[in-house]
């Protein structure tokens, strides 16, 4: 691991100005992704500013919704009674990711900032424009089974690994930041970037810009998260789907759909969402919607399976959210979000 200087942030203002002034400085909080990548020599900061002690630790009502402090752990969010009751899709997404240990460490701000799990990014002997701009993309012609089918570029075909971020995208969360030039509110859907020709940038955050909270807007509909992966637990999504559905009697008033594991960011599907408005839920409708959502997918050599997998997953997620199919487990738990069995056991019905 590259040696670095360590500083414990005294306050947010101080942390922001320190990191903003030093391009080789970085924040650290939970460290689950960061320390791992430092061990791999992928991240090589000269200065690490520890923000884990900053008072960004509370969850509370805000503007009819919920404000989640940047340092609140993933576990705290997933099991928070208000989140479970009002945004079960977010709990399901968080509990579908990582392990209990990692969720205890990982923070609200850190989770969406985790880097891609593209194996070429993590292997410093391979070409990777995200790690070292200009070196090329080994995944483009390599083993690209887990890579993007939407929004990729010649420079990068990586996907974003977070489950939580997919749910936050479907819920239209807002990222609150404090930067060297003041505060910003960034809609979650604008927070992550597509790779384009600058895949080294995952998000729109500036150097030294600190996430202070993630806000969930008021929402009275149903939310749900469904994930398909190689193992029954503790694996990144091949494809996942977050749904936020608001009903008006028997018809859909508004639907938001975000896909995970398919793009450089949580992939919203506006055209598919529009097709649902004013309609009565049915499998036929959901199949049409899923077809439309994947109409412009551009699979690589090894990941064409993500198209039918994603379509079927989306149909099932919509069926389960709208009540046409029962959830596979209690809402707000990992059992609800796992497509297939959990950890080798057929789950209990809800």
């Amino acid at each position: 691991m590259h040696p670095f200087q360590y500083e414990r942030a005294r306050n947010a203002k101080n942390a922001v100005s320190t990191v903003a002034q030093n391009p080789t400085a970085t924040f650290i909080a939970g460290g689950t992704s960061h320390v791992d990548l430092m061990k791999e020599n992928v991240h090589r900061p000269d200065l690490v500013v520890d923000i884990s002690g900053l008072p960004l630790q509370s969850i509370g009502g805000h503007d009819g919704g919920i404000r989640i402090g940047a340092n609140v752990s993933n576990t705290q969010v997933a099991y928070h009674p208000d989140i479970v009751a009002r945004y079960p899709g977010l709990s399901e997404a968080i509990l579908a990711g990582a392990s209990a240990q990692i969720r205890n460490m990982a923070t609200t701000a850190g989770n969406p900032l985790q880097r891609t799990r593209c194996p070429y990014f993590r292997d410093t002997t391979q070409a990777c424009n995200k790690r070292e701009p200009g070196t090329g993309c080994a995944a483009l012609t390599g083993i690209n089974r887990v890579h993007a089918i939407f929004g990729a570029s010649e420079a990068c075909v990586a996907t974003h690994p977070s489950d939580m971020a997919v749910a936050l995208s479907a819920l239209d969360a807002i990222v609150q930041t404090r930067g060297p030039r003041g505060n910003r509110s960034i809609p979650f859907t604008d927070f992550h970037r597509l790779p384009g020709n600058m895949p080294q940038l995952d998000t729109v955050l500036q150097q030294g810009e600190l996430i202070t909270s993630i806000d969930l807007p008021a929402f009275s509909g149903r939310s749900h998260y469904l994930k398909a992966r190689d193992r029954a637990s503790y694996a990144f999504a091949l494809v996942s789907c977050a749904i936020a559905l608001e009903m008006n009697g028997g018809t859909i008033r508004r639907a938001r759909i975000a896909l995970g594991g398919v793009a450089h960011k949580p992939w919203r599907t506006p055209e598919a969402e529009a097709m649902l408005v004013g309609k009565t839920p049915s499998e036929v409708l959901f199949r049409d919607v899923a077809r439309a959502a994947f109409a412009h997918a551009k699979p690589l050599e090894h990941n064409a399976y993500k198209v039918p997998l994603g379509q079927n997953l989306m149909v099932r997620a919509l069926m389960e959210t709208s009540g046409l199919l029962p959830l596979q487990g209690t809402p707000g738990t990992a059992f609800a979000s796992s497509a297939g069995s959990v950890a080798g056991i057929i789950p209990l019905s809800a």
């Binding site: 200087q5 460290g31 320390v35 520890d50 240990q101 637990s233 990992a334 059992f335 950890a343």
Partner: protein, 344 residues
Amino acid sequence: MSQLLSAPLQIGDFVSDCSLPDGSRLFELRGRPIILAFAPEAWNPAHTYQSELFAQLLRDFNEGATFIEACTDDWHNFDTASDLASQFGVAGKRALFLVDEHGILRWKIEVEPNEVISLGEVIAALEQLKAKPQNAGGISRRAFLSATLAAAAVLSLPLLEAKADPQLPKPEVAREQNAPPAPYDSSGTIPVTLRVNGKARKLQLEPRVALLDALREYLHLTGTKKGCDHGQCGACTVHIDGERQLSCLTLAVMSQGKNITTIEGLASGDNLHPVQSAFIKHDAFQCGYCTPGQIMSATALIKEGHAHTDAEIRESMSGNLCRCAAYPNIIAAIKEAQGEVRSA
């Protein structure tokens, strides 16, 4: 062979040429100091990690140093009857040899297979080598180090005692003197105080030292295991302020002011924690390497109170891998302990 084995190299002896596990010859490395590391196991994360540290030490020792590493799991290519094995007499041992650029054995250390080599001693040996004036002549003065790692073929995995690792009875004073080992870059270290199993421990560490390494290498609390070192296996699970967390992905410096509990701190005196007793009763391990992590994770799981059915326990324990696949017994142990802890 037995004749040779009875008279292995002594300090000051000239090391004869011999073949190395990667197919090269020791002779080819003459003119630069060499470290040879021998490990008895084919696959031992602790050893793999140590070799990374040795490599790092060599680089820090001399900027121009090159580190040549023969694959540490290349043991199947290693012949116990070979000239290398007989000369060094290392079959079944964990050992480190430092050979100078003239081919003279300058330092060696042998430990039991289940022990790790103290980095402090390696650092001291390297410093001593540096301190001795080199021969005049540019090349040898700028001698750069190569390390060649070899592993002997005798597979002797340590059997883990059911009651975690026995702690060597060391007087506290001696331990304080031993730890920390001399920092190889004194300007890069900072004082770090860790509260481990109820005791405050003062260390001098680089900020990049993971909590796992601080526990194992500096505090000699080797009950916490290093499996993958990347947060994927759970062997390094400890409790931080009562929560199960991964010590491999935690910087020690960030753990200051927190209560750290390791497997060594779980039992109260001779009374095992109910989870420890249940693991023994249900035979919830085979090789035992993942067991400290499993137990730390399981005790936290019970406290969390979210997992009761088999399926819920499996899901909640999915961050702890067991290559021996003792999973059914682990679940049985957790379910029994859960009842005991709750009724206690």
